[in-house]
Symmetry: C2
Subunit: 197 residues, 2 copies
DNA sequence: TCAGTCAATTAACACCGTTAACTGAGATTA
DNA sequence: TAATCTCAGTTAACGGTGTTAATTGACTGA
């Protein structure tokens, strides 16, 4: 009865193959070019097979989005173990956010429905995203022990500045070199965490 | 020969009817639901007629985008005539940006390719957008007369903070009341313009 | 009356997400 | 052994998409 052993293993491989292929097409041609049929072709199956792994395209995109948030969470968590100084922590977290958006723009796009990517499942209900929010809020709280309401405001501000610069840097990258944007980003985030004290 | 007179007039009406219909559908059902056939139905024509006014869907979206930037330009220009104090000017411009995104979110979406809207013509080549950039840079320059390079950096920062807060406020509007986001926005932009001195 | 013009239409092409119906090979049972 | 069942994987289909070619049909000028 090899079937019971081989099937689940291949199943997991096929599933991650679907996700990997979707990301590869998005990276190469943009999210508007990602179709179920194209994914199926790439993994050498017919289109309906994809629906045995994901109920809909929306659910597939949602999984990629959550992968992104989980990846971010792990990176943030790693930073908390490496650095003790809260200021250093938040600054390093900011840099990781930048680096992530820079190296995996297609993931960042689907996380925030950017550039034609559209996942209609509400992102604020994502457990993975909420975990990211909590870990950043915790970091802010660790050196600004204020009321929860204040922390959420500071988090909203930090997130806005970071996200705004990242998306505009992407948008303008053909006329404003990414290195220049990165420099401004570093200075701005540096100042933000300094002013928190 | 009424034809020479009636035709152009109706033509202009039809054209703006197409644009108006596209925006109405986008507002009601989101940009992913905007199709050429649906627009044609609404204006009581067949689909190919739309192509006599716009070469492609991309061009149609580009026009809506430019309408948005031109509208913003006019509002900013009006503020420059109303207020003389540079600090006041930039703050009021910030508030107009917020109000615009709040009242016409579907336009803001297509301007920045948000939430499934996708116009593949590069936005940084839009003359209307460049005019907006110039008028804001001019405003910043008027009370921080620095080198052009510095002005562009300050503009990038202002734009990022404003755009970041607007997009995140939209994203989180179901769990963080828009009034609360607006309050944080006002405080943040107030502080930004104050710190410019 | 005939030919020409031209706005507007229908029909078509190659895609899309999604689902139902079908195939065919291997396992199970009589 | 022969018949039945299971089930992974397929093809076919539905209604939609952007876009273009072919076609209609009413009005114009000769």
């Amino acid at each position: 009865m090899e079937i019971i052993e081989r099937k689940p293993r291949n199943r997991e491989q096929t599933r991650s193959g679907i996700l990997k292929t979707a990301k590869a097409i998005a990276r190469r041609e943009g999210w508007q070019a990602v179709s179920i049929r194209k994914i199926a072709d790439a993994i050498e199956y017919s289109a309906p097979i994809v629906y045995e792994y994901f109920d809909s395209k929306d659910v597939l995109l949602d999984e990629i989005r959550n992968e992104g948030f989980r990846h971010l969470y792990q990176e943030y968590d790693r930073i908390l173990t490496v650095y003790r100084d809260p200021e250093k922590r938040l600054f390093e977290i900011s840099l990781v956010q930048w680096e992530f958006a820079r190296q995996q723009p297609e993931i960042y796009q689907v996380m925030y429905n950017l550039d034609g990517a559209l996942c209609s499942l509400p992102v604020h209900q994502s457990e993975a995203m909420q975990a990211v929010s909590r870990i950043v809020c915790k970091t802010i709280f660790s050196f600004i022990p204020k009321a929860e309401e204040s922390i959420r405001r500071l988090y909203f501000q930090w997130w806005s500045v970071s996200h705004g610069m990242i998306t505009l840097a992407m948008l303008l990258k053909n006329e404003q070199p990414i290195e220049q944007s990165e420099q401004v980003y570093r200075e701005t985030m540096r100042r933000f965490v300094r002013d928190l004290r």
